[in-house]
Symmetry: C2
Subunit: 415 residues, 2 copies
């Protein structure tokens, strides 16, 4: 019988060991986990085949099944991911600052692990390995709760990693897996604030909203991106067309893809047909306001709802605006606070956009698709945060740490 | 008719201006607010007299009435607080890091305001001025919701500050006040995640728990401190007695006061009578385990509940432990993660305590009473966080900021 409370209690107990584990010990475990995933690929693939068969039986859509399927290549890529994380610098143990106060107290602000990180995710089984790797590296125990359709695969991957971690000297409970994928268990996990320090949902907007509304544990919200590109009156229009084409089409299913294009009225007549020529290569559906339709008569009329929508598809909402003021106001109202771009050669408009847009990543003259831990040079990411507390933008290993003040005295007491 | 939604919408709109307000503009507003609080003290004192009369009529306890009462001196101290915050460095606008990536993108991590900060607090009206000052300085709009017993005083202080801010050129809505102190309105405010970016409860454990359970807005938890002092076998016992006396008695009603004393068995027979001599000066009630009672026969037997309790009074739970291992395990189980201290001259035990205790502030040979923004050199504090996300330990102005990535390109697109 699965006992969530017992699992979380064990996770917290293991976190006492992980918290003080040295860099070499953690890296040894990660490399052992990588080898074990490859060596036990038959066990993992058998579990995955059972998941895929069950999904087919339920009539699951093929694009979801594609995300579920593992093969030798995907397993190697999982193992490589574990090895890459082992090679990254250890985010814990350093001091952000150390000061000596007038009374002689030495006060250091030390980077330490969060403790126990709960991760609630959807289809892809590779998240099991990725999330565990980042947590182990940052000295955290993870409690993993994946989707029901991948539960056999996730369990197999977690079991293999647990055994390998245990053999390498870390507690097996450094990776904890919630085998009951029922909704009641998920809801109960979101309230385990006695044992879990932080909760990270990885998935669609519905999952994230449920976690935010249910959890009593602090949450790092990740991933919803209604990203905008604004073509200013002073833009290099050819650059603008290439940026919106890249931002929309290079990978439409991800959160840093553009969903909405704003164009200054003064250049809309010239720009929109240029952009359309590129967007047509991928058959992008344009949903525009009246002024857009006057320039691109084939476009679909946009609803107000469209401007709030993250399409994650070859669909783009378009609006002609009077200029920078309307663009900034419109974006701050409609955006999810992920990534926005201005294309301009006007110095003051570039500065204003940087200062006045309230989003995690604000670009001048570059594609929104760069909002990514790898592209930012973090080496790895657990997600892209659109909230302002703790971590905003791509969250790397440092986002999985917190600080602790260490104070050394010689008998000081307070007056 | 009070309209919470409209108030929060106005707060968000004002935050667009606050976000880009310059340091001088914010300081001018703070100084104007300080002068206005003093110049309009008659208006504030009249409102306060009405609050006090209403509280007396309801039979409120005198110690609560004492917290509620304002006089000329307390008003001056509020105004001085505003001036002190004006004198602090501006926490926003700087860059934590700027890197140039191999593709030429310049990526800067800029300190920016959170946006709209909701503050839910209890009795003391001075929190209205303190919280508003810290928010204005950090470029945030505050939505203030104080306790019903101080509502007239809080409203008067907020009105005076709003007018002064408006006259100095900031939007009056940089300080928003929730005049309806009903519970339904408080609960609705905790779910205003469309407009409020962060929620900070300031008050007792009950208030904090309600906020954590109700809010959909990210919360900075502050203030519950079940703080421990552990007297190691290798301690300077005289220093230990002075530290526990200071940590317990210098101000028992605050969160950084010690609530629990652990003593290594090898020194308990010598130490406990020494400590008791000091603690007796304030009539501290000692609640001890069996081994403590064997040494101090007058002590009260402790219940398991006592070891989880933040007394905020002249009461101390005491336990004799076998040594450092039991002390660390006991503290990590019972503490609220606020502040803990080891008194020792043993190098390895000092290191182990620092590394293995999972609390915001970990002391060697100094009183837990130093966990405070002022004592840490932050100039001001909005509270002491016992959670791990975003801010841990004393939260100064920097805790009221977040970051935003600003990316400057020359047409870069992603492959």
């Amino acid at each position: 019988m699965f006992d969530l409370n017992e699992l979380c209690r064990a996770a917290k107990a293991a976190s006492r060991t992980l918290m003080t584990a040295g860099t070499e010990q953690k890296n040894r475990a990660l490399l052992a986990m990588a080898d074990a995933v490859e060596e036990n690929s038959a066990e993992i693939l058998a579990a995955n085949a059972a998941d895929v068969a069950a999904a087919r039986e339920k009539g699951t859509r093929e694009n979801l099944i594609d995300r579920l399927i593992l093969d030798g290549k995907r397993i190697s890529s999982m193992a490589d991911g574990l090895r890459q994380v082992a090679a990254l610098p250890d985010p814990v143990g350093g001091f952000d600052s150390v000061v000596t106060r007038p009374n002689g107290l030495l006060i250091g602000k030390k980077r330490v692990p969060l403790g126990v990180v709960g991760i609630i995710y959807e289809a892809r089984p590779n998240v099991t390995a990725d999330a565990a790797a980042l947590c182990v590296k940052s000295g955290n125990v993870c409690v993993l709760r994946g989707g029901s359709e991948a539960v056999r695969s996730n369990q197999a991957i977690a079991d293999v990693m647990r055994r390998a971690a245990g053999e390498s000297g870390l507690p097996e409970d450094c990776v904890c897996f919630v085998s009951d994928t029922g909704r009641d268990t998920a809801a109960a996990m979101m309230k385990m604030d006695k044992y879990i320090d932080v909760l990270i949902p990885r998935g669609g907007a519905g999952l994230i909203r449920t976690v935010v509304e249910t959890a009593t544990i602090p949450v790092i919200e990740t991933g919803t991106g209604n990203c905008h590109v604004y073509i200013d009156g002073a833009a290099d229009l050819k650059m603008g067309a290439e940026i919106i084409y890249n931002a929309k089409c290079s990978r439409p299913s991800v959160c840093n893809a553009a969903e909405s294009l704003l164009v200054a009225e003064s250049v809309a007549g010239e720009f929109l047909p240029m952009a359309k020529t590129l967007l047509d290569k991928k058959g992008v559906e344009i949903r525009g306001d009246e002024k857009t339709l006057a320039i691109l008569p084939d476009a679909v009329p946009a609803t107000e709802e469209d401007y709030y929508t993250e399409f994650l598809d070859y669909i783009l909402s378009v609006k002609v605006v009077s200029g920078i003021d309307e663009a900034i106001e419109f974006i701050n109202e409609h955006s999810t606070g992920h990534s926005e771009c201005i294309v301009t050669n006007d110095y003051n408009n570039a500065l204003r956009f940087q200062n006045e847009i309230d989003s995690a990543a604000v670009y001048v003259n570059a594609s929104t698709r760069f909002t990514d831990g790898g592209e930012f040079g973090f080496g790895a990411e657990i997600g892209i945060s659109t909230q302002k507390l703790h971590a905003r933008g791509p969250v790397g290993l440092e986002g999985l740490t917190t600080n602790k003040y260490v104070i050394l005295g010689q008998g000081q007491v307070r007056e």
